[in-house]
Amino acid sequence: MRTIIHLALRSIMNRRVTSALTILAIALSMSLLLIVERLRTGAREGFTGVISQTDIIAGARSSPIQLLLSSVFQIGSASNNVTPETWEHFRNHPAVAWTIPIAMGDSHKGFRVVATNGDFFAHYHYQRDHRLEFSSGKALPDDHSVVVGARVARELGYTAGTKIILAHGLAAESFVKHENHPFFVSGILKATGTPFDRSLFISLPAMAQMHDADGGGGGGAVAEHQHSLDEHDERDEHDEHDHLPGLSAIFIGTKARTDALALQREIQTYEAEPMTAALPGLTLAQLWSALSYAEEALRAVSMLVIVVGLLSMIVALYNSLNERRREMAILRALGARPWMITAILLVEAGLLTGIAVATSIALTYAALAGATGLITANFGISLPITSLSGEEWVRLGLMFTIGLAMAALPAWRAYRNALVDGLTIRI
């Protein structure tokens, strides 16, 4: 066996350039497979992780998917609003740990405006345990402050202190602008890969005041409305509700996960107004299932990558091993047995594919290190640099095994050629 490994190694070293190109071709295929698979799982996890640690999303009566789409993905709009009193009711429910009120209906240059309170920045989580973080500035210190998502800031070039005017409605170009209630950027969020990167956040009272100001014919000194959220929270509840808009949705975190189902039932049967309570995890899974063609498309790409990778592997191995036809004839003439000829070629193929596996892992991590930030920022797909999963090892092992199995064909052919060439071979 030592002789066989020695011959295979020396042969590879002798054909350094060809061997390196063979290894590169195989490694690129394997690496592409790993990256496409990571993109596929990243897309799924990115989608299902768009909201986490929120046990219930409550809103006016509609379907859970519609509620999720409008409140989290900002697609479509809520069928109706929930009154601030209802929010107050469930906010004080013994099973509820926290709530995040969400009101929508305005926009800015095609980006949606989310009216909420400080709890959004404290309790909204995504990708399991990720919290919102500010790349600059801070949350909403007053009712003329606006926090902008990373993509909004990037595309519109906003920085802290930029003055902006919001528009009524969700259309990209609105003719009704809330010019009587300007906002100033108080903070810019770091990219999250969620739809909230494309949102602007204002306080609930700000939204109410903005519409009151326009409804009253405009005017009203800005200074009169520049009270902070904290000051606002110190008012009595009745006063607060007078200044709150209707809510599109309420994100709810329970004190104990086991309370979620009972609370969901209670919300759905709430008598004061008809409501829907969606369990985000379940609804996201249903939604992803409905959109499974996207995952299937990526899966199909993975399969194609495997097929192309294996084909390139067999072509590369076949070419490199075919070059050794002359050597096989010499070795046979010197007494090498059939199994030795086959073993030399298989060991060589094994070494090439083995090195290719290691190279593909290195290439994958290099690509992840270089591109994960860009991909997350631009496509919202999280590609964490984690160690290879068991499934990925199995895939690489499978590619290695198939590569070896495919090398058996040129190995057999080389042996046959050696037999046919016999002593007529010349160098």
């Binding site: 010499i330 070795l331 003439a333 002593l423 010349r426 160098i427």
Partner: protein, 232 residues
Amino acid sequence: MNKSIEIQRLKFGYTRADDVIDIDELSVSSGERIFLHGPSGCGKTTLLGLLSGILASTPGSIKILDQDLGAMTPAERDRFRGDHFGYVFQMFNLIPYLNVMDNITLPLRFSRSRLSKASGTPESEALHLAQALGIGNLMNRQVPELSVGQQQRVAAARALIGKPEILICDEPTSALDHLHRDRFLDLLIDVAGTAKTTLIFVSHDRSLARRFERSIDLAALNRKFRASTGDD
């Protein structure tokens, strides 16, 4: 004297309809030095292939060292060839990515029988042969770095290592000038004689026949060739 090679009514063709070899009888004694010659197309290389078991003969019989090659499987013939044959090719056929030492010891890696006949380790046996052939100082050199004459001596050392009973040389001197050819023959015959190796030396050059104990004209021996050229 024991027979090293015995051929009886041997016929062989690459296709069923067209034989290229038809030899009624040929025998070679152990340790005999045979000069095999004949014009192109008379079947020299084919006969070497049959003797060494690379080609399978039917019908007819080839016995090498009293072993019937026709009764062996291809794998058994491979093993037999590795154990009992040494080869010097026309163009030497050294493995270019192995150094001189690795090239010379290669047959011992494939045959335990040859290995057992080596005196000392494969490396010491290779060095001993290389020194006898005047290339002892080149053991770590790569083959492409050597001159033609040096490569030829490496090929000879590789063929002789492990004291094979039969040494086949297929036109090994055709690329050499007279001076190098004569030196090579001297070395080959000397080393083969010392090891009592049966030598089959193939060449077009009839002038070399005087260096051998017996000369065989394959064109005359091969009835098929005689028939095709109208000599019958």
